[in-house]
Amino acid sequence: MSTILESPPQIDSPAGAGAGAGARQLVVALAGNPNAGKTSIFNALTGLRQKVANYPGVTVERKEGLWALEAEQAPARLVDLPGLYSLDAASIDEEIARDILTGRIESMPAPDVVVAVVDATNLERNLYLVTQLLDTGRPVVVALSMIDMAERSKLEVDAEGLARSLGLPVVPVTAKTRRGLEELGRAVLDAVGSRAPGPKWRLSPRAEEEVRRLYGAGASSREEALRDLYSEGLPEDPERREAVEQARARLSGADTHWWQEPLTARYRWIEEATAEAVRGARNARPSSTERIDRFVTHRLFGPVLLLLVMAVVFQAIFSWATLPMELIDSGFGALGETLRARMPAGLLTDLVVDGVIAGVGGVLVFLPQILLLFFFIALLEDSGYMSRAAFLVDRLMRGVGLHGKAFMPLLSSFACAIPGIMATRTIENPKDRLATILIAPFMSCSARLPVYTLMIAAFFTDVKLLGFVPVAVLIMLSMYLLGIVVAIVVAWVLKHTILKSPPPPLVLELPPYRVPNVVNVLYTMRSRSWLFVKRAGTVILTISILLWALMTFPRLPEQPVPDAAEGAAVQAMRETGAEARGEPAPETVEIDGADASRQARQLQQSYAGRLGHVIEPLIEPLGFDWKMGIGLIASFAAREVIVSTLSIVYNVGKQDNAESRSLIEAVRNAKRPDGTPAWTPLVAVSMMVFFVLACQCMSTVAVVRRETNSWRWPLFMVAYMLVIAYVASFVTYQGGKLLGLS
């Protein structure tokens, strides 16, 4: 059955079967434990017809697709709930899931049917969620997954017997071979409008009595009465609240473990229901998983393998992404130049080329890294390795107050904080996740490299410590270390102040290893990159245009077009200049001398240039003058921009190459008004320290805005990082001067 080539989402034809459905589109919710194979089933049912967004106000991913339940049928709306162990609202995921099931999400009616994905190899724990789904009163259809794995490990699950003892339709499903998908569709259609069997488990007579009493005293259903009585919180309504408090007091007077009763009762019912339906080896864990784990979580090999995996992932985002990134970069550069040549010179052209096209390029340039990182993350998650990695490093990360799962995002941030921050989605606890996001930009990303390179090339090449240790390497290493140390300190402080929370339980499932599902991996890559382009992209584009305006206005008065003779003279000058420096004719210098100085004057008298003067008293104690101030301002777009900005300020024409001889010479020769050199090795170090610690990256800000759904955290991040950077640079420069360095 083809699920791909069908009509787009707007469906107003009758959905068919079922009295409850009427003429509107059927809504089906897909629920299940993490690792139960829910994603594969969702992908198999909806094909490419799915969209990913966020639920309003929270960062829980909202995934929806269209599912053709039966040929000739209008497809149903299939809503993929977040992976859950329970509906008791301990996490945002669980809260959202319960809101969806009870129809409390805007623009989403309560589901007509709930499909519960249940892992056949792990029936008991998976069925726990089913007992809760039944409480909601919605019709439930069980999709029994991992049947092939159960069969392989000699575990016999009798689907019909299970259906009988559960009182629910049970359909064995294998996403890969599409086995059972049609039957599942039919079972869902049959279930529409049917009355749910309701909960079968029972509490003790004493507890049942209290539930009945609460039901009478204001709770709208037995389920609500149950939740009122046994959840952590209390209902808002004062009368109901009092009734609940009294009931709890009575129950706890009789038994201190009273609150455990529904949990044990549910499991007791599950044990009875599965006792007859399951035969054969109860241990369904494949022996291959045991063998792999003997190596993967081994005392010695485990950490070694983890280092290896890290090295490959890091290498990939650090260097394999370079080529496509350069292609995108030069592609947009070429596009800009082509347009500039075709369009009449003027403001509009500048806006399109330097603002819009450069901005779009600035967004898309991150795609290779994001795609690669999410390729690896999806691969590691899908195979089951990711939870082993968290198992290995949890002890280390907890030392700083972070979760074992913070590890991968922080590692990726050494290449680029954007994909790193996006990868924090795997951390369930919101405070832990926020702490990880807030320290991720301290990891020295690849955009800092051009700055380090320029500074080191200008002042520290060929300098050796003790005659053999190259200072350049030492400095580079210390910059990486500085970022890590500050990140650890900040994480510690955050976790003990504003993000204080009891250490979240680890309770992390170690699922059997599986061959990663290619489709899942590709879909993850696709949806993550699309989310980035759509949401972060708009912010990045806006800021990019804003910065362009700052550096363009007010304009220099128009200048007569240089005549041919002048042009020739400039051309000659440029060539002799190149010869004098003993270089081949410089191809990176695209602009001739006259233009370069005009660019420099334009920049100096623009708003950005004036701002440079304004902030000079502020940055002077760090060793910076106003020209560097312009560079700093421009670098808030992206760190590497300081290289091209400095080259404009220093009159060597716009160029991005940090190893350009002319730029290095210009930096070395730059003078302050009093004739002393503007840059010294100490200023260079102070500048690098600033770049390690300041959040100069609008894309990071945009992505944090997107991931936290508010401006509060990104602004807080920029502010506190700026303060730390300022203080550290101040200490570096002033301390260095006190020590007699220059």
Partner: protein, 102 residues
């Protein structure tokens, strides 16, 4: 035989008669030697952790055993109801178990 382990773990209270025949030893899960089959006796505490542990299947009577510790000694890999789970020692400590007579 189970008395040998009693010395290693903290002895809690004697399980009720229903848990098995004859006297059995109750220890905290983090003190259970790797590989020893046991059953959950009780989950102590009443906060979110206790609830989550029970939701995950740590309900009195459920079969449980410790597989191994992570390279740094913590967390533990624990097998409960035929699936595997990583638990910190501090979390495992809140679960008391009875060693099965095998």
């Amino acid at each position: 035989m189970s008395l040998a382990y009693a010395a290693a773990g903290q002895v809690d209270e004697m399980p009720k008669q229903a848990e098995g025949t004859g006297p059995a030893t109750v220890v905290a899960l983090d003190a259970l030697e790797a590989g020893t089959p046991a059953r959950v006796f009780a989950v102590r505490g009443s906060g979110a952790l206790a609830r989550r542990l029970m939701e995950m299947g740590f309900v009195p009577g459920a079969p449980v055993r410790v597989i191994k510790a992570a390279p740094l000694g913590d967390p533990l890999e624990v097998r409960v109801r035929n699936y595997h789970l990583a638990l910190r020692r501090s979390e495992a400590q809140t679960v008391s178990v009875v060693m099965s007579d095998k």
